[in-house]
Symmetry: C2
Subunit: 635 residues, 2 copies
């Protein structure tokens, strides 16, 4: 191999400032930006075998190092520093969240197509488990709008027009979701979350919000509804519209308006707003009260509606549709049933019935959870793998209490955060409130009108329709609107899992396309001595999908001009065997034509990949002057 | 938005040589290496509408430009220059290929599990069509080993242990393959081929070769066989080994040895090998004869074996298994039947039976075809889309003659090339030979022993096992062995289409992983005035899967050191909305901490993407001196 250029010329460094030892970060070993100087030492097989035992030892040591144990049990980070201030913050926030979670749980169970108590069943054990394993102080585990809708779709996927699958299936779904999340967390597959882009996530969330609102309109109108996709839901609503119940509709609309106004209330400040530290004691108390009412608006509204409902049931024809009897007491703590309908549906049949939901539900759950963690991370990094691990354990624990899948909820996290939560321990008080509700308050839930719960949901999810992101995306990068809109539309008219696959698929195709079609600049340059040459600069790595394209361009322009060609490799950060083979053919073709082909500033690690196929006439230079000399010597 | 850095500072150019207007090549508009200077002019809606009519006009004009018509009908390029020399070259090569294709076709039909005449049916119309539309002079369209094996697997996929699907299904498969190739060619989807890397292709070809050899061993041993995967085939061979016919085995083994020796013959040169121009007339003639015998070895062997077979049938128990009666005459020229078994199997059921083969067969066919084109391209570029278009038309035409799927064959292309073919017109003579065989020679084919055809196949495919690529891959980039070996093993033990999906999937996952985990160098630099700062340099584009990772690293190291952070964006060639949002949060976080975060050498097109989300405290500089000044002014 003729490789004089590589071995003789010196690499000229661009850095003219004092630099300390650089650190390289993870990524891929072969796609490195700046190469280590000097050849790697070859290790013999014996050396490798000898190093296995100490390696295993150090590996075990590292796994159980204090740092790693603290990573797996984040409670160890904050528990030692727990103080009175933390306790007060957590107590207030935990109770406030509890007042939100109870009405929300009842309502979300309705979205999932399950009896209301299943919402409460999923709202306490998970919060306890999260205290130990969770990384974010603001995440209260429980049923969410998105998880509930996905559960609904999964329970209907095997038979779209028939009856829903049983709650036993929903519990098994929760169990399997937890299992998958746990395995992913341990295997370090949190990277998968990174492949959901902002626009796809916005499109998905917006579509879900619209689907949820559509699914709740039936309770506002007091009619029958159903369906999984937007067109189906609208179709069902229109078909049944003649049964509209005016009392439910009026109550529902009023509730929505009241909730939205109460939400404003929590932001209202009495007194001089510009100088908050000059508030009088009265003003402070008034503001605190307003905020408290606003924040616990769901509980307040549901209680008020329940009382109204109770007094109106005296009438012979009930004014409203009520949620009805909820069995009192805690759910049985037991392993999820592996059979359904007294053993006529086996475990495998259950899995078959749940279908792709087994994968989609846990992935979407972790996606929502991590986006909440990020939203409240305050500049700290979020450990997706630990969050998967924690959420997996929470879901598993929840499924032992007959809960369907859930995760952290954005609306409750916001309440938690603004209520001044200090640590994940706030979840303890939330859980206690839910337990108390199940033990003592279920008899009173009977009189809650369904329309008021539908209003709670609608008021919560209406802001999930992210119209506001369209403008910045348009200003920033118009083409990013395509995956976003595609996801939005696909999620509305197709099953949700198909919709999100459409969006992610478009995004991945775009990444792959960009890997296959690098941008290449082609310029005619002149040496100081006046020799013309073609300078071709690819802007990214040379790997199998792109290398033939690059070769074709280099060949085409090289043959057209007939002058020496220099390929500037400064931006080529990676290569593979396929690229090496093509470069070999390319250098051979140029050599056959008697045309000069030189490589400039090729990183040594990549030159080594090319050298692996032993190309002939392969010259690479790192020095502009050297390059000029070679160009002159030829002509 | 505070964007002084961007607007005030000048971009310092790195090029110190005379440069003419650079050309930018295709790729993606947003991932550009060097930006155009100056803002883009905004066009109003009216201007856009006004420009539609001329645009459509110029578009139509361009589609029917001479250049594009010549691209679609490559015959227009070479036909006007056709001369006597071309005619002689094409005649000799065409006939030589014809002598190869006849025995190969009979044998390949056996691989596909179809009667032998179906191989001949697919060997003439396609070659005629390719003359008009084909881009490579060396590609003779017809049945190939790989396409035949895939056809076999497709015909058995719906019922692995039962009987094969009918030839009607195989013809429909050929028709649909052609249709898909044609559509892909017109839609310009040739880029898909680029996503099959060298190692995956080698692994696939090697596995196919081993599968084909295994499938032919039954005929060598004269026993029954079957199965789609390697373990199944071996299992069937072992089970039936007690029926072994010694005469077939001896004939088969001798044939293989003779064929391999004859192949060497074509390379033997009599006379002084170093000075080929000093050959005597006798030596020249002798060499030509040796080469001729070597090259037409398949025809010679099959004729000899046929004669032996003919004389030995006089015996009461036939010595060999013969291929048996082949109906004489050309196939009916008719549209493929849309029903099977007298209408009991409908068109939709046929499609269902063929399953994923409908996609896999045309894709693998074009893959093989293009790799042949590349192998003989002699430094010219290969137009994958035109080749798809041409192969699609060939397959459609073939399916009208009751042929199963085929494409260019590497072994016949090699014969074609070494026989001195000048243009695709050589295929005309090949086709004529096949037609003559069908019209006049089929009665003589009856006596050809199956073992001799099996030997033809085995001797042809044994060199497709690409053990030789392992070493260069290992030397070049060890990790590329993984997709190669995975494809090889998966293709052997699973259905072929699953095997190739495994390999391509691994490759694509690696591209996506590299997009998600860029390499980042982190160094402490000092300005000339002694101010320390952290220089962080990501080596590739910032897009949704990687940006959170980059943010976490920047945050972590920024917080640990507590000194100003400069992100060197020289290598960032692309960005998206998700990245812009994260950069916005990142600048906000740094600003909240009171830590300086500066961007250096960010391409204006990417700065525009970031500016779209209107980040606060976002500063980018293009001038080292300016950067130093800012760093000094802060401290």
């Amino acid at each position: 191999m003729d490789n004089k250029g590589l071995t003789l010329s010196n690499r000229d460094s661009n850095t003219d400032v004092t630099s300390q030892t650089p650190q390289y970060h993870l990524g891929s070993d072969d796609f490195i930006l700046v190469d280590e100087i000097g050849p790697r030492r070859r290790t013999s097989v014996k050396e490798k075998v000898d190093s296995v035992v100490p390696w295993v030892g150090s590996r075990i040591k590292r796994t159980f190092s204090i740092r790693n144990v603290k990573k797996r049990f984040p409670i160890l980070n904050w528990a030692p520093k727990y103080n009175f201030q933390c306790a007060v913050g957590d107590l207030v926030a935990g109770i406030t969240v509890g007042l939100t979670v109870v009405p929300q749980s009842l309502a979300y169970a309705n979205i999932a197509g399950l009896p209301p108590q299943y919402g409460l069943y999923g709202s306490f054990v998970g919060t306890f488990v999260y205290i130990i394993f969770g990384t974010s102080k603001d995440v209260p585990i429980g049923p969410t709008a998105i998880a509930s809708l996905l559960t609904y779709q999964t329970l209907h996927s095997s038979n779209p027009n028939g009856p829903s699958l049983s709650p036993t299936h929903a519990i098994m779904l929760g169990f399997l979701s937890g299992l998958i999340q746990l395995i992913m967390g341990i295997a370090g597959l949190g990277i998968i979350i990174d492949f959901v882009s902002g626009p796809v996530s916005s499109g998905f969330t917006s579509a879900v919000a619209i689907l949820i609102i559509s699914s709740q309109l039936k309770d506002i109108f007091g009619i029958k509804g159903g369906g999984s996709t937007f067109p189906q839901m609208i179709d069902n609503l229109v078909t049944n519209m003649h049964d509209i119940r005016l009392s439910d509709t009026i109550l529902g609309v009023i509730c929505i308006i009241v909730l939205l106004l109460m939400q404003l209330l929590s932001k209202v400040k009495i007194g001089p707003s510009k100088t908050p530290d000059k508030y009088t004691t009265f003003e402070k108390a008034a503001n605190k009260t307003l905020w408290m009412i606003g924040t616990s608006r769901n509980a307040v509204l549901v209680v008020v509606c329940g009382i109204i409902g109770y007094y109106l049931t005296e009438a012979k024809t009930p004014y409203f549709n009520y949620i009805g009897y909820i069995p009192p007491g805690l759910p049985a703590f037991e392993f999820p049933k592996l059979q359904d309908k007294n053993g006529t549906v086996t475990f495998l049949e259950m899995i078959e019935n749940l279908g792709s939901g087994i994968l989609v539900v846990p992935l979407v759950a972790i996606l929502e959870n991590i986006s909440i963690c990020k939203a409240f991370a305050e500049g700290k990094s979020v450990d997706a793998n630990q969050e998967l691990f924690a959420l997996g354990l929470c879901s598993l624990a929840n499924s032992m209490c007959q809960s369907y899948p859930g995760n952290g909820s954005l609306s409750r996290s916001a309440v938690n955060n603004s209520s001044g939560v200090r640590t994940p321990f706030g979840g303890f008080y939330t859980g206690i409130i839910v337990i108390l509700s199940l033990l003592f308050f279920t008899p009173y839930f009977v009189y809650i009108p369904k329309a008021s719960l539908a209003a709670v949901i609608i008021a919560a999810v209406v802001f999930m329709v992210e119209v506001r992101v369209v403008k910045p995306i348009y200003r920033s990068k118009k083409s990013d609107l395509i995956p976003g809109l595609a996801t939005f539309i696909a999620c509305l008219i197709l099953p949700l899992e198909i919709g999100i696959i459409v969006g992610i698929g478009l995004n991945l195709m775009s990444i792959l396309y960009h890997a296959a079609r690098p941008k290449i600049s082609i310029e005619i340059h002149k040496t100081k001595g006046g020799i013309e040459y073609l300078l071709i600069t690819p802007d990214r790595c040379l790997i199998f999908p792109s290398v033939d394209y690059v070769r074709n361009l280099v060949t085409k322009h090289g043959m057209k001009k007939g002058i020496p060609v220099v390929i500037d490799c400064s931006h080529i950060y990676g290569a593979d065997f396929t690229a090496a083979k093509v470069i070999e053919v390319l250098t051979q073709d140029f050599s056959n034509r008697g045309q000069l082909l030189l490589f400039y500033n090729l990183k040594p690690s990549i030159a080594a990949i090319f050298a692996g196929v032993q190309p002939k006439n392969f010259h690479t230079y790192y020095d502009k002057q050297k390059l000029d000399e070679v160009l002159h010597s030829i002509v």
